[in-house]
Symmetry: D2
Subunit: 93 residues, 4 copies
């Protein structure tokens, strides 16, 4: 059981749609579509991925981190550090 | 003929690898992998997509925009505006 | 008392340094420094600001959000939602 | 003469406003304003800086890079590479 378990199907649907966007990008490159139009689609796929990440992160804070905090002890602090490192990777990617 | 035409095969290879990363994400979610590990992979896929975008943009500047500038006229200015808008979408995604 | 209170002086020092970077940018523009060198400094100031944000966010999760979660009740959920919205603003800025 | 020279005053005004935002952040931290409100202001300052960067970049492409391309020769290629590296720094910051 993780933060996203209850919304698993919704996440899978979103990831399948992103997979379709990336396959669409291959088709565009293969058919020599104009660079700027390819770039617009890359931006759309990037935003969709980041939106999945923000959802996973919120679920993670609401479940995994919250549970560790409720239990207390050193694991709580560790979970906050770990989540913060994941947020930093997201902000910088 | 667009900026990326000469590197078409390399871009297709990179996009197929990103498609594989997104399918890997689906597997991770489906198998209830720990949230933070899923997030690390989402960041990796996002960075890979942005790296494709930066490559396409450089090729676009070096070919399509450069050609328009060499020809001169209002189209040159238009191409710079269009590329700048694409850069803004990238920076904000 | 907020998450960052214990590190207040350190944050003020970092923000003063960023203020100095922004004043340095004005000097560069005023003295007609080469665009790319100005841009490099803008990127450095942006990264410094985001690094302050990531620090504030980690402190906020470790203190304000953790306290709300320990108390339980609807405020805990609200704090997680609020922090997630702040993370989304950061990722998209 | 650089890309931004004609808009120098406008850029200085925007940078002075950002300096004011960063000073405002120091006041907020000093007065123990709630973390999330500080973060909202950090995001606003970050966006303002990135917006300055996007403007400088567009001016740079329209003037410095365009001039190098018109002259032709190896410097044209170099300018495109240099601009692309600056775009990559922006996207990743």
């Amino acid at each position: 059981m993780h933060g996203y378990t209850n919304d698993k199907e919704a996440y899978l649907t979103r990831l399948r749609r992103i997979e379709g966007q990336v396959r669409g990008l291959q088709r565009m490159v293969d058919e020599d579509v104009y660079c700027i139009d390819v770039l617009t689609q890359v931006s759309a796929a990037t935003r969709a991925l980041q939106s999945v990440a923000l959802g996973l992160l919120e679920d993670h804070l609401a479940h995994c981190v919250a549970e560790a905090v409720e239990k207390g002890g050193p694991e709580a602090e560790e979970k906050v550090k770990e989540a913060s490192a994941a947020i930093a990777r997201l902000v910088r990617s």
